[in-house]
């Protein structure tokens, strides 16, 4: 490892260590609350865990005095837990002594005594990794306006590796961005001054210096008198490089190899000044006046709210509301906040829905108990409006970002396998309830392996991105498109019968076959095959998947570049063998 990078780990460790020391008094105060509640068993468990955590973390930071003290307390508490008897007076005295010795350490002073280790970034913490900061939920489906607007935006990409720059530009073109590649800082400077861009994608390291990228952007900002909207791509993920990028005003940082979809999300955020979808918050409080007040505060901050004054309404209200967060009172008759939280956590769809409690409960222990059920935060009434808005938007934002990373495929930005299967389940349930048709299609790029082998993986990726983009643009908002795996895609068409699904897919198939792909000097075309299965002929997600897969297999066997409809299982065997490729209209 180069010395520079071990420096960085040291810096990051120092920052974390300082944060740990900052938090320690608060952790000890919380532990003290547990201590006063002994011999209550839950308090004993909580106290043991608190000291155990302090022991482990301080050990990792090399803070041996703290580790030793915490171990002393932890050993006593472990023994008491193992014995299953109330804690002995002698042990209680040991614990009290440990607290006193912690106080004597004067943690605040120890913390200040080492200013060199404090870097002062606490007020503006850097993201821990290349996590997109400001993605907005994008629904798959038609987005023609959005796409055409992208190309009017001037974007520069500056990287001294010209192959990489060209490849990234080609990939971004698949998403509708016309990006100009520049390979020297001088060329970028000239371009920015001649024609100010909507965004610059910038490498960090150049022959001119290891932070020459951010330095150039910063200098250009001074020279032109306004900040250059920029984001960074770099092979380095270390702290110094990230810090330089942030100080030069960079709004995002992607480490190489760069995921194109991540770049696109950032570019969308940088170049689209549209307001993102407002947060949707469900407010649950048995006091209508209080519920309305909180809803009003959030709405004034631009959010959309729904109000439930009875926990029993919550499940119905959540359906179709697309909540980003639930704000709930902790004390309600018939069903408490924690009980309601537990109900929600036991439903797969709401496992990760952020929950914040609002209550006049000031007893910390009770607060912790409530949080243990799986809520994300606690606000004490009366809450200041600004604080409420901040807490709610921070958590909702983070959840959206995490959610979007979790459910989407990295290359194509489509829903991933797990998500598409969940959405198929949901679609089948809705179709059954509403007595509506539904189709499920599996799409597979023909001879994809040959594309990869002949033209290389970047060309293969281009094909996948182009197909996924075609699917996103041409299908309706209500259609769900996902990457099923490898070169396989899946589409759920709610409310569509099998003939309509076939027509839609045939149109897609023909336009995709007409797309010309570039790989170096060579050009090539690609086709896909699709299999479609219809509800209610197949009545479950599993049955639909299997039938569509079988139909896809027949499409491949029948010569590829075609759409096949699944037929009833008792006939399909014969059909696959004898009548493959036959066009069966009139379904």
């Amino acid at each position: 490892m180069a010395p520079a990078s071990s420096e960085t780990f040291k810096a990051r460790k120092a920052r974390l260590r300082a944060a740990f020391l900052d938090q320690l008094p608060q952790r000890l105060r919380e532990a003290r609350v547990h201590l006063t509640r002994l011999p209550d068993h839950a308090a004993l468990v909580a106290l043991e865990l608190a000291f155990h955590t302090i022991k482990g973390s301080s050990g990792s930071f090399g803070l041996t005095t703290i580790t030793d003290l915490a171990r002393e307390a932890d050993d006593v508490l472990k023994a008491a837990l193992a014995a299953g008897t109330p804690i002995a007076p002698g042990s209680l005295a040991t614990l009290t002594a440990v607290f006193e010795r912690f106080d004597a350490l004067d943690l605040g002073a120890a913390d200040r005594a080492d200013p060199a280790e404090r870097y002062g970034f606490e007020s503006e913490p850097l993201p821990p990794g290349p996590v997109p900061g400001q993605m907005t939920e994008e629904t798959p489906g038609p987005a023609h306006d959005h796409a055409s607007r992208r190309c009017e935006q001037l974007v520069y990409l500056c990287d001294d590796d010209s192959d990489l720059a060209q490849e990234l530009c080609a990939q971004l073109a698949c998403f509708g961005y016309c990006v100009t590649a520049l390979t020297t800082l001088e060329a970028l400077r000239a371009a920015v001054i001649a024609d100010p861009p909507a965004a610059v994608i910038m490498d960090v390291m150049f022959p001119e210096g290891e932070h020459a990228g951010p330095a150039t952007i910063a200098a250009l900002g001074v020279e032109t008198g306004h900040a250059i909207p920029s984001m960074y791509i770099s092979g380095r993920g270390d702290f110094q490089a990230r810090l330089q990028a942030v100080q030069a005003g960079g709004s995002a940082y992607c480490t190489k190899p760069v995921k194109t979809t991540e770049l696109v999300e950032f570019l969308d955020a940088l170049t689209n000044r549209e307001t993102p979808t407002p947060f949707h918050v469900l407010v649950v409080d048995d006091e209508p006046a209080v519920a309305q007040l909180h809803a009003m505060i959030l709405e004034e901050a631009g959010m959309i709210t729904a109000v439930a004054t009875d926990p029993a309404q919550v499940l119905d209200l959540l359906k179709g509301f697309n909540a980003d967060l639930v704000l709930m009172d902790i004390h309600m008759p018939a069903c408490s906040g924690p009980e309601l939280a537990r109900v929600l956590r036991q439903m797969a769809g709401y496992l990760s829905l952020p929950i914040i409690y609002l209550s006049s409960e000031t007893d910390r222990e009770r607060q912790f108990e409530a949080l243990e059920v799986g809520a994300d935060g606690f606000l004490t009434k009366p809450v200041e409006p600004a604080r409420l808005v901040t807490e709610v938007s921070l958590r909702a934002e983070r959840m959206r970002t995490l959610h979007s990373l979790m459910v989407r495929d990295g290359l194509t930005g489509l829903f991933n396998h797990n998500t598409i299967m969940q959405l198929l389940d949901l679609g089948v349930a809705n179709a059954r309830r509403d007595h509506q048709p539904l189709c499920f299609a599996m799409i597979d790029v023909d001879r994809f392996k040959r594309v990869n082998d002949t033209y290389g993986h970047p060309a293969g990726d281009q094909v996948l991105m182009a197909l996924s983009r075609g699917l996103r643009l041409r299908l309706r908002d209500s259609d769900v498109v996902g990457r099923y795996g490898g070169e396989e895609f899946a589409v759920v068409f709610p409310g569509v019968d099998v003939q309509q699904a076939r027509d839609i897919l045939d149109q897609l198939r023909m336009s995709f076959a007409a797309v010309l792909f570039y790989a170096g000097n060579a050009t090539f075309n690609c086709t896909f095959s699709a299999g479609v299965a219809a509800f209610p002929l197949w009545s479950s997600a599993d049955a639909l998947t299997e039938a569509a897969d079988l139909a896809l297999y027949r499409a491949k066997r029948g010569g590829r570049d075609r759409v096949e409809i699944a037929v009833m299982p008792d006939a399909s065997g014969d059909l696959a063998r004898d009548r493959s490729g036959e066009d069966r209209d009139g379904h």
């Binding site: 490892m1 990078s5 071990s6 960085t8 780990f9 990051r12 460790k13 974390l16 260590r17 944060a19 740990f20 938090q23 865990l49 155990h52 955590t53 022991k55 482990g56 973390s57 050990g59 990792s60 930071f61 090399g62 041996t64 580790t67 171990r71 932890d74 821990p128 990794g129 993920g237 270390d238 496992l351 990760s352 243990e372 799986g374 979790m406 459910v407 991933n416 797990n418």
Partner: protein, 121 residues
């Protein structure tokens, strides 16, 4: 290597991440066992789990058992505040158990490098 780090103390988790990211690994953090399972379910690219032992609700050992029950055989390293010898002896299938102390900074990168080597023949 793509690594999922599970620790109920986010600071301790981030320290481990800082240590391993410095070695060029890609780390994700989870603050409890449930979150870890969610992340593992959503991302099949994770190649190694490094988990704290003592956590509320779902302990590191519970998480390990749950993963094996789900048929996930990826390497699993436990970090603990106590002497890890007993737990290592009692838990077949664990890749390693390391004590959280100042030596972790030396030991963990070496261990992970070895595991990464084993994963890529």
């Amino acid at each position: 290597m793509h690594i999922l780090i599970v620790d109920d103390d986010p600071l301790a988790g981030e320290l481990v991440a800082a240590l391993l990211e410095d070695q060029g690994h890609e780390c994700r953090l989870a603050e409890n066992g449930i979150e870890a399972l969610e992340q593992l379910g959503a991302d099949d690219g994770i190649e190694l789990v490094i988990s704290d032992l003592n956590m509320p609700l779902v302990s590191g050992l519970d998480l390990f058992a749950e993963l094996r029950e789900r048929g996930l055989a990826l390497p699993f390293v436990l970090l603990t505040g106590d002497d890890p010898a007993d737990i290592l002896a009692q838990t077949p299938g664990l890749s390693a158990a390391l004590m959280k102390d100042a030596a972790l900074e030396e030991a963990l990168p070496v261990l992970v490098a070895t595991l990464a080597g084993a994963a890529r023949p």
